[in-house]
């Protein structure tokens, strides 16, 4: 039985992998663009998950890190033609991480609701800076982001961008998996469960809370850089408070504290609107309803709910056999 299951699993993953890799040959340009967007938001969701899902801290200001990463990529690639995109992404990610590290110190002074408000304030301040620093960011009217380049190689078509974003996402996903299964990941979870007991086991809150903020900001910052390359145009309105709220919605709807949850969340929130394109006016209502229902009835998110459902079906069929 187990053997049979394993065989099916391998086949399933193989087909999924093959579809992802050959997607540009199977689907149209627009769908490829949607897939790329989903990849970007999976990275965002991973970053938000480190804070909300693993360490138990709520940030409603992460859109600022998204913006820092995006502007870094756009400015570096505009000013220095042919600047390697990998370095631009890293610079954006590391700058975000540095600022996130500093913001993390506010999490040492406060927690819960206060921390959420503090991060809102941070996001609002950064948004105003994006809008006012016209010489660098183009002000409220925004700026054009050139295609990512690696020396003389340019990634211009949607297919090339898709593979680029897919590659970065997979690398970051593997890093994330390793991080979560390491000492650091377990320290994060210990802090989520109880700060006081974590401290008494010798886990330094100063170190791990700031670290969680820094890593989260790094993920969101890199995602922001990819977003700028993908959209080719960014403005402060892309980094407003509602965007930061949407980031949290992704991880809560998908499922807190799980990688599958991040992936599900990003797909649900960004693929469904494409399917129901006629309902643009109702999108906020639908998102709100889904969020409310998940909070009230599915505390583990949709991925947790699916997992429970699968277990139920499995135990049922086992009983029959």
């Amino acid at each position: 039985m187990d053997h049979w299951n394993d065989w099916r699993k391998v086949l399933g993953w193989g087909i999924l992998g093959a579809v992802i890799l050959t997607a540009p040959f199977l689907f149209g340009t627009y769908l490829i663009f949607v897939f790329s967007v989903i990849c970007v938001y999976i990275l965002v969701a991973l970053g938000m998950n480190i804070l909300a899902g693993y360490t138990g801290m709520l940030s409603l200001g992460s859109q600022a890190f998204f913006g820092i990463g995006a502007y870094c990529a756009a400015v570096l690639s505009t000013r220095l033609v042919g600047f390697p995109f990998v370095i631009a992404l890293l610079v954006g990610g590391l700058l975000s991480a540095g600022i996130g590290y500093l913001l993390g110190f506010s999490a040492l002074r406060t927690s819960g609701v206060y921390l959420a408000i503090a991060t809102i304030a941070f996001g609002m301040i950064m948004n105003e800076i994006f809008g006012e620093w016209s010489s660098l960011t183009g002000g409220q009217s925004g700026m054009v982001a050139p295609s990512p380049a690696l020396g003389s190689i340019q990634f211009q078509s949607s297919t090339e961008l898709y593979y680029l974003i897919l590659f970065v996402s997979v690398v970051m996903l593997i890093l994330f998996y390793n991080l979560i299964s390491s000492n650091t990941g377990r320290a994060f979870i210990a802090i989520r469960e109880s700060e006081i007991s974590a401290q008494s086991y010798g886990i330094s809150l100063v170190k791990y809370k700031t670290l969680a903020f820094a890593i989260s900001a790094f993920y969101v910052g890199v995602a922001g850089g990819l977003y700028a390359y993908l959209m080719k145009y960014i403005a402060p309105i892309d980094f407003r408070l509602l965007v930061g709220i949407e980031f949290v919605v992704i991880v809560i709807v998908g499922g807190l504290g799980s990688i599958a949850g991040s992936i599900f969340g990003a797909i649900i929130l960004f693929a469904l609107p494409q399917v129901f394109a006629g309902l643009t006016y109702w999108q906020e209502m639908v998102t709100g309803l889904v969020l409310l229902l998940v909070i009230l009835f599915l505390p583990e998110g949709i991925s947790g709910g699916l997992y429970q459902l699968m277990n139920l079906i499995r135990s049922h069929s086992d009983k029959r056999a």
């Binding site: 609701v113 408000i117 006081i196 006016y281 309803l289 009230l296």
Partner: protein
């Protein structure tokens, strides 16, 4: 001398805005103390009630002395309905859940307001004349300003008496202090929870009628009302007098800074103050420090 008059003028304008912040911050503190939920949907609730008042005033042509109480009563039941349908289920859950439940309700309300009425700007007719008249020294003021300040203070005084002099007020205070003990003493705790939301929605509806003639009435107005969070935190999120003082202080500071410094500083100033207060004095200016127990 000219500068001094300008400052006094701005303090008057700031007090007007500050009264609205104070009213909404009072609602948030009430809900936070009573149920442990920080109501992020307060802005949307105010906007929704204000659109109802707009319909009563403009479509039904009712006079304002009918609109105020009617809108108060409608919002009362609206607040209760929201509590029964959603917020009741997140009481006592982690902050993440209760806060995001408020965000979700806010999203639904925001969209519903736009769907029912409009996503465009509306002009709310002012309840008092907004013709300014000149005082000695060249200060200007309008009946609308005086109306906003006096109604706000009247509501706050009545609310204070209600909390401290009536049986229902006593049960709200008891629940805020210790829900379990209150329940054992025979306080109907779930009824008190509903009351908190109902009162907040009602006071919010009055604040909405008062402030919307000064601004444009649209779905995006919730952002301005959200600044009441800053007022609540400034005064200490568990202190009602703190919320009032914090609100008025915020309104005045915002206006003074907006007059003498470039506008973008006015935009971030509120949030810089907020971040500073949270990091330096998390208990707020008038709050008491709390010890966490294991």
């Amino acid at each position: 001398m000219q500068l001094l008059i300008e400052i006094i003028q701005q303090i008057i304008f700031g007090t007007v805005m500050g009264c609205i912040y104070a009213l909404v911050a009072t609602c948030m503190v009430l809900i936070y103390k009573g149920t442990g939920i920080l109501n992020f949907a307060q802005g949307e609730m105010v906007v929704f009630s204000t659109f109802i008042s707009y319909t009563l005033r403009v479509a039904f042509q009712l006079p304002y002395w009918v609109v105020f109480p009617l809108s108060f009563v409608i919002s009362w039941f609206f607040g209760m309905l929201l509590e029964v349908l959603s917020f009741r289920r997140v009481i006592g859950k982690p902050h993440l859940n209760s806060l995001m439940a408020c965000v979700a309700v806010g999203m639904i309300l925001r969209n519903a307001t736009g769907q029912i009425w409009t996503f465009d700007d509306l002009r709310m007719p002012p309840p008092f004349s907004d013709q300014v008249f000149t005082l000695p020294l060249g200060l200007v003021i309008s009946p609308l300003f005086l109306g906003i300040i006096s109604i706000s203070f009247a509501i706050m005084i009545v609310f204070y008496l209600f909390l401290n002099r009536t049986r229902v007020g006593l049960s709200i205070r008891a629940t805020a202090q210790n829900p379990t003990a209150a329940m054992l003493m025979g306080v109907p705790v779930s009824y008190v929870y509903s009351m908190c939301w109902a009162i907040s929605a009602s006071i919010g509806s009055i604040a909405g009628i008062l402030i919307s003639p000064l601004l444009v009435l649209n779905v995006g107005m919730f952002i301005i009302i959200l600044k009441a969070i800053v007022a609540a935190v400034l005064g200490g999120i568990e202190s009602l007098p703190g919320a009032v003082l914090g609100g008025i202080l915020l309104g005045i500071l915002e206006n003074l800074i907006g007059t003498f410094l470039p506008s973008w500083i006015r935009q971030i100033f509120v949030w810089v103050i907020l971040l500073g207060v949270i990091i330096a004095i998390p208990q707020g200016l008038w709050g008491r420090k709390k010890q966490k127990r294991v």
